[in-house]
Amino acid sequence: MRLQLIAALAALARVGHADPDVTASARLAVYSDSDATSVTTSSIAASGNVSEHVRVSAQYLVDAVSSASVDVVSSATGRIHDLRHEVTTGAALGDSEGSVQLAYTYSTEHDWTSHTVRLGLARDFLQHNLTLGIEPALGINRIGRRGGVAFHDEMTSIGAEAYATYTASPRDLVSIGYGLADQLGYQASPYRFVVYSDLRAVREVVPRTRLRQTVTLRWNHHLFDDSALRTQLRAYRDSWELTSITAVAEYIVGLGALDLGVHVRGYAQTGARFYRASYPIEMPYMTADRELSSLVDGTAGATLSYVHPLAGRDVRYELAGDAFGFAFSEFPALRRRTGVVLGLGVAVSL
C-alpha cells in the first residue's frame, strides 16, 4: 500500500512537470490501559506536488482494538476484537499568501461507517504577520450493531473552526481559535444499557442534538539556541452542559541531528447534566457512559527524533512514549485507569 501511494503521487507529479517533493511516512502506536483495553494503530501516509501550487496527500490507517473493559463486560459481550480502517485523501492549493485545502476521510468498522469532508481556507495579512483561517467540516455517520437485535441509525456533524495566528515577536507565535460544531442524530451506544430502580435495565438514551464549542489559545515561544516551548489551553462547553479545560506544555530542544521533547497534559471535565452515578427512577435521558461523567486525567511523555542521511536522502526516525492516568469521581465501576501509549515513526523525503 505504501509503495502504491508513493508511486501514484510520483506519477501525478510527472504529469504536472513539477518538483514532486514526495514525502512518505509510517507510524505505529500501541495503547494499553489497566481497563483491559489495547489499541494498535498503524498508519502510512504520502504527499507530493502535482504542480507548482498544488500538493496532494493520502493516508491509510488501521486501528486494531481488543477490549474487555468494564464498559464492554457490562454490556454482556465479553472481550471484543475490532478493526477500524480509515482512508484520507486531500489536496491543497496555495501560494505564499494563502491556501485552500480539501480532504475526504472514509472510516469503517463492523458497526460504524463515516464519511467526512473538511475544507480549509487560510490567508496571510500584515506582511505574513497574521494568518486568518476557517475550517468547515461535514461528517455523515451510519451506526449499526453486531449481534443481537438489528440496529441502524445515523448521526450528522457539521461545524467549523476559525482561527487567527499572529507573530507577536521574532520569538513568539500566538494563535486563538473558536470552534462550533453541531451533532444531529444517534449519539449513544447500541450496546450499552442503564440499570435503574429495582435492577430494571433500559437501553441508553441521550439527546439527539449536541452543540459543541471550543476556544483554544496556543503560544509557541522560541527559547535559547535551538529549543522551543509550546503551550496550549483549550476551553470546551457543549449543550449537554459538559465543560472541560485542557492544558498542554511541551519543551523541545535540538541537539544536532537529535530532537528531544518532553510534554505534559492535564484535562478536567464536569459531567453532562443528565449523567448520574445511579438512576433511582427512569428518566428521559439515561447513560452509563463514563466519558460523560466528571473526570480528570493527566499525561506525561517524551519524544526522541533523529534525522539520518541515507542514500542522499534525510530519513527521520521518531520514538515516543506517554504515561497517563484517569480518575472518575462519579463512575463506581471504574475509579482509576492508567496506561501507556508508545509510538514509533519513520519519514523520508524522496
Partner: protein, 68 residues
C-alpha cells in the same frame, strides 16, 4: 465564549508588532509550527477524543513564514 474570542482578537490586533521577514528565521523552524506532525497529531487526538467527553479545537496553521 464568543465575547471572550472577540475580545482576545481585538486585544491581539491592538498591540500589533510587525515582525520583518528577516526576523522570522526562528518562527519558520519545525519546532515552532502549530501543526508539527499531522499524522502523529491525528493519532493523539483520536486517543483523547475517544476517552474524554470533549472534542475539537485543534485546527489552525500559520506562523509568519508564508507557509500556511
Amino acid at each position: 465564549m464568543k465575547r471572550l474570542l472577540v475580545l482576545a482578537v481585538l486585544a491581539a490586533c491592538g498591540g500589533c508588532v510587525r515582525v520583518a521577514p528577516y526576523q522570522r528565521g526562528r518562527l519558520a523552524k519545525p519546532k515552532m509550527q502549530l501543526q508539527r506532525d499531522a499524522q502523529a497529531t491525528e493519532i493523539e487526538q483520536h486517543v483523547y477524543e475517544s476517552r474524554e467527553g470533549s472534542a475539537g479545537g485543534y485546527g489552525g496553521t500559520g506562523g509568519g513564514c508564508g507557509c500556511n
